[in-house]
Each structure stands twice: as structure tokens, then as C-alpha cells.
Symmetry: C2
Subunit: 417 residues, 2 copies
Amino acid sequence: MLQRPAVSAADNVRPVCEDILKRVQSDGDSALRDYAKRFDGRATDAPLLCSDLDFDDAEKQLDTELKDAIKQAYNNIRRFHLAQVPKNISLSTQPGVACELRYQAIDAVGIYVPGGSAPLPSSVLMQGVLAQISGAQTVVLATPVKGDTAIAPAILYAASLCGIKQVLQIGGAPAIAALAYGTDTVPKVNKIFGPGNAYVTMAKQLCAQQVPGLAIDMPAGPSEVLVIADARANGEFIAADLLSQAEHGPDSQVILLSDSAEVIAATEKALAEQLKTLPRAEIAKAALENSALIKVQSIAQAVEVSNLYGPEHLILQLGESAEFLPKIKNVGSIFVGDYTPESAGDYASGTNHVLPTYGYSKVYSSLSLLDFYRTYTVQTVTKSGLADLAKAIIPMAAAEGLDAHANAVRIRLGEKQ
Amino acid sequence: MLQRPAVSAADNVRPVCEDILKRVQSDGDSALRDYAKRFDGRATDAPLLCSDLDFDDAEKQLDTELKDAIKQAYNNIRRFHLAQVPKNISLSTQPGVACELRYQAIDAVGIYVPGGSAPLPSSVLMQGVLAQISGAQTVVLATPVKGDTAIAPAILYAASLCGIKQVLQIGGAPAIAALAYGTDTVPKVNKIFGPGNAYVTMAKQLCAQQVPGLAIDMPAGPSEVLVIADARANGEFIAADLLSQAEHGPDSQVILLSDSAEVIAATEKALAEQLKTLPRAEIAKAALENSALIKVQSIAQAVEVSNLYGPEHLILQLGESAEFLPKIKNVGSIFVGDYTPESAGDYASGTNHVLPTYGYSKVYSSLSLLDFYRTYTVQTVTKSGLADLAKAIIPMAAAEGLDAHANAVRIRLGEKQ
């Protein structure tokens, strides 16, 4: 019952993306303008990057309530991710052998924010705050803008809070190619973050294969939630959480595990009721068809099932979670208690909403500040330290048939080679 | 002059690997036995996994000097990586909103150790120590064994120090497929580590694409070293370091940047001298043909060049490194001073020798303990905390057109939807 629906891109996605990548690589900005016209109906003389004036206009146009909302979310996300700033590690492994692990912010990052039916300022914050804290020298945000409309003020306002100055008004595979290869207008980046449709995902994968030194964030997949609820849980809360996942798209998967038949029945009733007034009811209904409300023997069994399934979002509507939390693994993010809906983490609690899904939570991490850093090591050995290390290096190099490795030690110690 | 040689797998590598993956997926152990016979000349009844007896024999057969060498390397590597054990993070982003970042060891990991012309116990340690510290429940080491010989005692001894009990005597793409899909004998793992030839690399990439929830370590590439040396540096030391990289393979790249023509001349002379007695001289000579000894204007300029090139290994043979170290980035590992040859880090200083190469040091990390963990987040919101968060969630959900997200908050606060 927990089988995830198969996901496969249409056959033409790969060749279409390959063409776009080649074209952007060879023709740069003019290719970007052509694609913006073809895919988004932009004027050919529309500027590729937002201007300072665009940022000023966004600030003026945005209503105060939404501005304050974005600022509150920004502050919480910033607090949680500031606590993740990494510290270098330094120690001597033996006398005369000093070793360090050092963190380096990735120089140049690209952040993709998909278009969809509405602008997504939350997606700007969930990536932009991290880039800002890391101190990346170059941060380019790319997002599609339709026709002759201006870019959504909420996007630019969120970007400006994150200190992002370069906003590329281009979407889809052409935007990814621009970030990967660079153009006259768009700086080439080292790592591309952000969700997107099948073309964006394919373009990211192809670029990562084709451009040496380019990295991308985690694999994308349909969004999913698993709710574990005990007999005292509120069916209306559960239904609201299931629907807030289901409204994302028809391929969303939503699952309830409860040891109470009454709670399952109450949830079913509340689902029917809440669907009546939901604007995105058709999408949510389609998603509910892939989904399941399952009676389990016990909450302990529900935790076992969750660990096997590996949900992106796990909501624990339990009177007492403390017993179960240490046993939970393979999740993207956990929402504990009756008053922690998934939408808290989607927007404003401070945790990141970019999470591994589709079973990747067994091995991939939730997006964290460390994704904007890399580590490298440093060692400093004294002559006497090397004399002692030689007792390990020389026999092992000999066993591995690598004589020059041994020579590099012997020659320094004045030994015959 | 610093252009890296192009690397591309032969055309048949992909289809060959695709066949092997399919075959192992469908036929399991019997496919593994067939491939072991075909590729390595193993007997069809040779056991796939090493026995306790094999471990005991290895312990007895290995000479004391090599045993002590492996133990010393193990201890240093363990000390450096123990210092990397991550700590969970917990804070309140605002009153009533508790957020946590938690670390989870990846359950099941596969470690590949290539065959090559000699057994590579260092490759066992550089992966196995990390798996041991993380406490991964399942650790499977795979390595090819030729003909009717027993597996190299040094491999099994290093594995036993790391607490590895499951050693698969199979190499190449079949081993990777076994780890990715699992067979009756081989447990399926969540992440596959380790270097290998073009087939191993391709098999890892294909498996990562085909098996949901499977991850692999960093992209592989030819090994490389860049030495920065000042006028007081010793040409013989430099030559020994260049050769210890060049002997890895004909595609290795070795570079010297010095502000002293005399040092470059001394290095050239020492290279010719040391090559005379080097067993792997032919391989080293081929590598030296792709390589360059370059006169720079200053050490500061050399550091700029290094940052652009992004070397896997960077050796600083400088009288004073402290001025330059903070300016260096985009490296895998740095070796500071006249008495820190690359072979110190390759075997025994304690740092990891699995490093990003081929320009990936701009964005990928040196292998560290964190590669054996994943992170997830937990949030716990109180009712009053949610009432305050609602000021951020509800306007943002409205702006993004996601009404069910807002409803999940309103219904909990008893507000009308």
C-alpha cells in the first residue's frame, strides 16, 4: 500500500534539454532571449536581469502584512541556520603531525525558484538565507516571468532580505544552462540549488554530468507526508494536514497511520468536508487517489512502517511523542504534536523546507547550511613527526607497490632510496 | 598550460555496465559467480564472502612490520575522524517554536576497494574507519580477487581493524550492482563509496540514477598534485613529490609553480635522477608528459593560479606558509612545509586521502565523517507559538495560492476557514 507511484520523465525531456544546453552554451544571452520569448512570451528586448528600480518598486508595491510575514519567516529561518555555521577542526594525531579540517563557503551559487501558479517567496528564503549566511561571493537567483508582467514583488522583496542582487528573469532549462555555463550577463556558478519541473531537473542532471566542477543539490521527487495519529488525535487537524500536502500536485502522496478506527473515520469525514471549500480541490482529490489511510496495530508499528517508507514530512499527532522520537529515522522533517502542522515548517518555523523525498530520506539530508560549504584538510608535519610517520608510510607504500611514495619520505629523512 | 587532459569513458562502457546491472538484478548470486569467473578467473564454487577462517589466516600471514604500519595509520585516521563526530543542534527560533537539526548515521554502506597491481589496505582504512565511527549497521566491503589466490591479508587485516565482517570477493561493475540491488548473499546498501576504473565509476552513476534512495560518493577523476615552492625549496624533495603523484597512472597531472628558475632546474635534474631507479618509471614518465614546471612571478601569484586550477593535492614547500594559507581555497588537501610529503596524507597523517579532483575541489569536499551521516530536522510548536507563527504562515500561503496550508493553521487556532 505504500508503494510510491512510478515517476518517469517523458521521452522527449532529455533531447529537448540537451538542445537547450548546447544552444545556451554557444549563443549565450541571445539564446536566453529567444527561449524567454518562446516559453514565457517575453519581449525580446526585456532585460535579463532585474534592475535596482525593480527592487525599489517591489518594496513599494508589496502590502505591509505580506512584507511582515516574509520578514518573520526570514528571521526564523536565519536563526535556525545561523546555529549551523560550521567550525574548523584542528588537532595533532601524533606528536609533530598537525591535522585540520577547514570549511570553505562555495564561491558562486545559483538558486532556482520555479514559476508555478503563484510566486514562491518561501522558496527564495529557504535557499537565499543559507547563501547569505555562508557569504558566497556570487549568488544568482533565476525565476521565470511571464509575458510583459513585472517580476512578482514578493520574490524580489524576499531576495533583497537575503542580500541577493542578481535576479535572472528566465526559467526552465535555459536558466539552468545559463547558471552552469555562464553568459555575458549571467555569472557561471559552482552549485545549482532549487526545485523545478521535469525539464529543470533533467537540465540540472545533464549540466552536473557535462560541466566539470559543477554540483547540484539533492534529487527532486513528488512531495509526500505521513501522519501518525493516536486515538486522541483530532481528525480535522489530520485532514487539514493531508490536504495541505495533497494540494501541491496530483502526484503528491499522503498517508495516515493510526491505531484508531474512529480517528480514521473522523479524518475521512473531515477530508470530505474540507474539500468542499478548497480552491485546489481537484488537484488534492487526484493526489488522494494515490494515498492511503491505514489502521495499524500500535504506534510502535506505525514508527516501524515510517522508517521503512522514509517520508519527506512526518507529522506526529500523539499525546506523547518522547517515547517514539528516538526510534524514528529516514525522514526529511518531523512535526511534533497537535499544534505543529506541516505548513509551519513549509514557511516559518525556521527549519528548511527543501527535503529529501521519494525514499531518498534514507541517505540524503534535509537542506542545511553545510550544503553551501565544502571541506578540505591541511596537514603540517615536522621532521621528527615524519620520522615517526615513516614507520607507517614506508611499509604500506611498499605493500601497495608505490615506491615513489616511500621515496618522498626517505629522501627527506636522508635515508637511501 | 593547466588545461586538464580530457577524460571520457570508451563508448562501450555504458552498455556493458547496463547489461551487468540488469543481469545482477535478475540473477543475483549466480550472476556474480559468472562474472567472477569471466573477469577474474575465479572458480564457480569460490565463496562470495570471506569466512572467519580467511580473517584468521590473514592475521597470521601478515608480517609484523606491515601490521604495525596499518595499525599506526588506523589510529591516526581514527583520531582525526573522531574529532568530526557531529552534534545535534537545538534552539527556539521564537517563543513556543523549538527547532532541531539531528544527525543520523546512514544505515547501510558499501565500500569498494579496487584491485590494481597491488592490494590497497590504505583504501580500506580511508573508508572503513569512517563507517566504523558512524556506527553504520551494515558495512560491506567489495574488492576483486584474482584466480584461485586468497584475498590479500593486508586487506582483511585493515578490514578487521575497522570492524568490517562482510567482505565480498568480487570487483568491478558486478560488485557495485550487488551493493546497489542486493542479492541473497549481499545486503543492499544505501550509499556506495570508493574509487575504481571507468566501469566501476559508470556502474556507480547508473545505479544512483536507477535505484531510488541510493547515493554515491563524489565524482572520480585522475589524481593530481600542485607544488608551490620558493627559492629555498629542495629540488629533490619536489621531484620526489611529483613522482609520487605521477606513478599513480599515466593520466595523473603534476604541476610545479615556483618563483625560482634555479629550483625549477634543480627539480628537473632530480626528476631525471630519481626516475632511473623507479620501478613504475614508465607510468611516471607518461604522466610527466601532461605536466608542467612553471616559473611564476611570485608566490602570491602561484596561490592565485592554484585557486583557479583547484588541485586535489597542494604541497607548499615554503619557508613561511602562514601568510598564504588563509588565501588558499579550492583544494582537496594541503601539505604544509618541507617535511609534509603527499604520501603522509595518502597513508598515515590522519587526513582522508579520498579527495575531489579534476576541478571538483571548487564545490566537492574531501571525504569526511559527515559523508556517513545524514541530517533531518524536528520542530515542536506550542499552541501560542502557532498563533504567533500564523502571522507569517497565513499571508505567505495566501500569496502562494496554497489555501490548505493556511487552513491547517486556522483550524488549529479555532479560526474560521
